[in-house]
Assembly symmetry: C2
Homo-oligomer: 139 residues x 2
Amino acid sequence: MSDLLERLRGRGWRLTAQRRVVAEVLDGDHVHYTADEVHARATERLPEISRATVYNTLGELVSLGEVLEVSTDGRAKRYDPNAHHDHQHLVCSRCGTIRDVHLDSDPLAALPVPERFGFQVSEVSVTYRGICPNCHSHS
Amino acid sequence: MSDLLERLRGRGWRLTAQRRVVAEVLDGDHVHYTADEVHARATERLPEISRATVYNTLGELVSLGEVLEVSTDGRAKRYDPNAHHDHQHLVCSRCGTIRDVHLDSDPLAALPVPERFGFQVSEVSVTYRGICPNCHSHS
DNA sequence: TTCTTGACTTAGACAATGTCCAATGTAGGA
DNA sequence: TCCTACATTGGACATTGTCTAAGTCAAGAA
């Protein structure tokens, strides 16, 4: 993700301190923060950054395809910087922990053509739910 | 779904006008209303029904396994009465239309054991996204 | 049938998440 | 360095959902 800023500048992004900080917070492969968590972490480095800017920047990163938006629970959306590696998510029903997982087969292939009802299907997301080892041993 | 009320009574549910109306609104196999849509439709039959009761009743139906909660977009959750037939969802990215679809293979099988990280996986939901024929022809 | 009671419903306050806008600031090209 | 189009800010507002205290009622008991 270190070249993310370069890539963005190449697309005409104006590079501001706020955008840099948001991108830095998202740096890492297995991070799934909510917008508020991103804001809290960004605030540690740049105290005046506003909520609106964090929302704007996250939205832009999503539009640019650099970050994925994940909504696993109907609560706050989470932002996943691991957008360039196909993966799905495994969520603990108890504590909410999220893990990236990789599948054996392409889930698109599991949807037969007659079941596509003429849609041009372009995307699929799979969410597995269960109890994580930690929650399980504490139950 | 006509015997839903019987089933619920058998489980000790007190049968009220409000609950009956909510269940009637959800009657049908391919319905995916938000809580507010359920409330609007319920209000047509029972003008005094409150939002809180609609939320309570939907929550109870979900706990009882009679209705599925679906959150496809991070906005309002939708309620799917087709809980007794395994299925997944196909969503139009343009207009938000939702269709129930049936898969060729069990998506649980696509997650290799080493990718389960010790979770006891009990549930999987798959959401396909694309452009529906109607939106496609109008574009 | 009437009574009783605990479960149900209600209105509205509150909470969590996200969006919008007018005023102000600033990155980067000329 | 200066300009200006784009970015940021704070706060109001919108949407969705939760909670509570007070009133209401379904259904079993007598």
